[in-house]
Amino acid sequence: MTEIKKTYKNYVDGNYVRSESGKTYTVQLKSESYELPLTSKKDLRDAVTSSKKGFDSWNKLSQYNRTQIIYRLSEMIEGNRDSYVEILLDHGLTKPAANKDIDNAINTIVWYAGLADKWEQLTGNLNPVVGEYFNISHQEPIGVVFSLNSTEVSIDKLVRSFLPALSIGCSVINLSENNAVLALKLSEDINNSDLPSGALNLLSGNFSNVLDDASRHVEINTLVSYKKLNKEMLKIINENASTSVKRIFHLPSEDGLSSILPFIETKTVWHPKGR
């Protein structure tokens, strides 16, 4: 029987889509070769439109619900472990290394699932101001986040490039480059985890094609890169970001409480006490 091969597409607004440009790029693994969508500026703008809506629908869910949706992602990955192992082996990992990476990813997802309903208790607080005032620093997710995945071949690194923002309520546009097969494969399990459309959009391509738009688009509130960027790119990003005071984070923490700090806005509310 002839083997049939899966076509990987971008995951935008809960749909699997090709690049509107029709362009692809080749990712050659040990045994398979994939033609992945080369994300265009227009694709990015579509993803932003989706993420704006995704932010609202993701935030309408209770933290309790969000915890369960993220936890479900770990269940889905466990159920499809063999197919992930296969892809990781094709990327050149050994079988033990592939299984270890999947174990790590599941642990990471479970950790962030449990954070979704606790992060505000860990980062917000009452402030002991002088005088008869109630003063609280409430924590809010910043909004739409564009995130560039690292170049490592790792499901764990991949999920760490969107869960810190996603788990606290941001919507995320995540771009992977030469390791994008992993992200597009993961989109199937994301889709089966009941995440609202647009809360997470997974794209493949070359960051330099969308760098200008990603750093300039006023509806992207924060741009974060888990890949080390060269000076030329940093210069363009800062220049573009300055037009709307966009938040930029280059190689932020990827674990623990510090990983979510780039994506928080602190809102401090005062009220007098009295009779």
Binding site: L122, E232, S244, T268
Partner: protein
């Protein structure tokens, strides 16, 4: 007027001694600048020249940054509890010389002595006390495994709260183990220069605190210096954008506290007399030279006439005049340039069709002054409803429903602060949840505390100053 006149009660300026010329404070001492250019700092209430201030050039900034680099070698190895003690000692000295600082602040910047004495200086001291106590508790402040100071921090501060902005910047930076090169505003450098003397007095290690005076060119030299690991800036959004752009290819820290155009929302179920007080404090505090000033009054339509009537009556009781008179509510506008900007924006408002009310009062014949002003009949598209005026000018808009109030309040690129006035608790929380603002005052306004984080959403900047959150502006954290 059918009221008794106030008798003058002038705070003596004999407590301050001002030198005719100042250098920069680098490597633990005042030194002769490399720059031969000076500017004159003027009292905005008398137009008298108070002193000549060096306009620091590239070499002056370079010397200060190198001093801070050397200082960092010592300071980063100084025991946290020892760092704390230096800050406590500074706090004590500030308390002891509080009156001197307050008078100097009012002379150089034009703010009423009532405010510099009762607000600025107590807050300055309490900021040093507050952050002193964090210096030896950083490891337990955020539950993270790794925290490192940036190194040399370049700090640029504005002229509206000169010494308080210094405290907001310097206290957390030093507590977290960074060293500082500070550039005060060109119109208000004198209290920062006096603060440098205190650093010498407490024996702060050389190079930990450096001060370079100057204008925008000096600030640009500091921002562009490659020895800087982090920039902290408070000022206008346009300069903030310039700085973010200037960071360019450098992978350094940046926090920005920029402009605002805060909505002060008064619902029809508010305690109106209290709201009037809050609205007056919200816009006329410090002549309206406040980035978080409640400059857009949003009134629910059915209370508009009643509220405006009460507000105009209350405004008429404000006393404008000599900043050193203890009766003064509204002091001098900080500079001629700022006065021209306010005048021009108010003219725009009148030309656009806004209805202008200004209080009846006599303004001194010398100095820079502006009458407390209120605009009604304003459309949201007018300049006065969109641009930061940074003066004693309040713009009124109306709304019918809470949803509309939130929409108008958020319809700005700024997001620094907001006010909510209602006696209904659930409405406060509903509104606060929906406002894009970093600081929200409900049934109060313009309250500050070292323990309370301050900073903006959107184009009002990023990062927080004050509180536990303020530590993060000066630490690189991992895990």
């Amino acid at each position: 007027m059918d009221k008794w006149e106030y008798a003058e009660s002038i705070e003596s300026d004999s407590i301050v001694s001002i030198q005719s010329k100042y250098g920069h404070f680098i490597d633990g001492k005042f030194s002769t600048p490399n720059s031969k250019n000076y500017l004159k700092t003027v009292s905005p209430s008398t137009e008298e020249v108070l002193a000549s201030i060096s306009i620091g050039n590239e070499k002056d900034v370079d010397k200060a940054v190198n001093s801070a680099k050397e200082g960092f070698k010592i300071w980063s190895k100084t025991a946290p509890s020892e760092r704390a003690k230096y800050l406590y000692k500074l706090a004590r000295l500030i308390q002891e010389r509080s009156r001197e600082f307050a008078v100097l602040e009012s002379m150089d910047g034009g703010k009423p002595i009532k405010e510099s004495r009762d607000f600025d200086l107590p807050q300055v001291a309490s900021n040093f006390f507050y952050f002193a106590g964090w210096a030896d508790k950083l490891d337990i402040s955020w539950g993270t495994k790794e925290m490192k100071p940036y190194g040399v921090v370049g700090q640029i501060i504005p002229w509206n709260f000169p010494l308080l902005m210094l405290a907001w910047k310097v206290a957390p930076a030093l507590a977290t183990g960074n060293t500082v090169v500070l550039k005060p505003a060109e119109t208000t450098p004198l209290t920062a220069l006096l603060f440098a003397e205190l650093c010498e007095e407490v024996g702060l290690p050389k190079g930990v605190f450096n001060l370079v005076t100057g204008d925008g060119t000096t600030g640009a030299e500091l921002v562009n210096h490659e020895g800087i690991s982090k920039i902290a800036f408070t000022g206008s959004t346009s300069v903030g954008k310039y700085i973010q752009n200037a960071v360019g290819e450098r992978d350094i820290g940046l926090t920005l506290e920029l402009g605002g155009k805060a909505a002060n929302i008064v619902y029809n179920d508010a305690a109106l007399d209290q709201a009037v007080e809050g609205v007056v404090n919200g816009i006329f505090f410090n002549q309206g030279h406040v980035c978080c000033a409640g400059s857009r009054l949003l009134l629910q339509e059915d209370i508009h006439d009643e509220f405006i009537n009460k507000l105009e009556k209350r405004m008429q009781t404000l006393r404008v005049g000599n900043p050193l008179d203890k009766n003064t509510d509204i002091g001098a506008i900080n500079s001629k340039e700022q006065l021209e900007k306010i005048t021009s924006l108010v003219n725009d408002g009148v030309n656009d069709g806004g209805e202008l009310f200004q209080i009846e009062c006599e303004l001194p014949s010398t100095g820079y002054w502006y009458k407390p002003s209120l605009f009604t009949n304003v459309q949201p598209s007018y300049n006065i409803a969109r641009e930061e005026i940074f003066g004693p000018v309040l713009t009124t808009l109306t709304f019918r429903t809470p949803e509309e109030a939130v929409e108008i309040a958020n319809n700005t690129e700024y997001g620094l602060s907001a006010g909510i006035w209602t006696e209904k608790g659930s409405k406060i929380l509903w509104t606060a949840d929906r406002l894009d603002a970093g600081v929200i005052w409900a049934n109060t306004f313009n309250k500050f505390d070292p323990s309370s984080p301050f900073g903006g959403y959107k184009e009002s900047g990023f990062g927080r100053e004050g509180g536990r959150h303020g530590l993060l502006s000066y630490l690189k954290v991992r895990s």
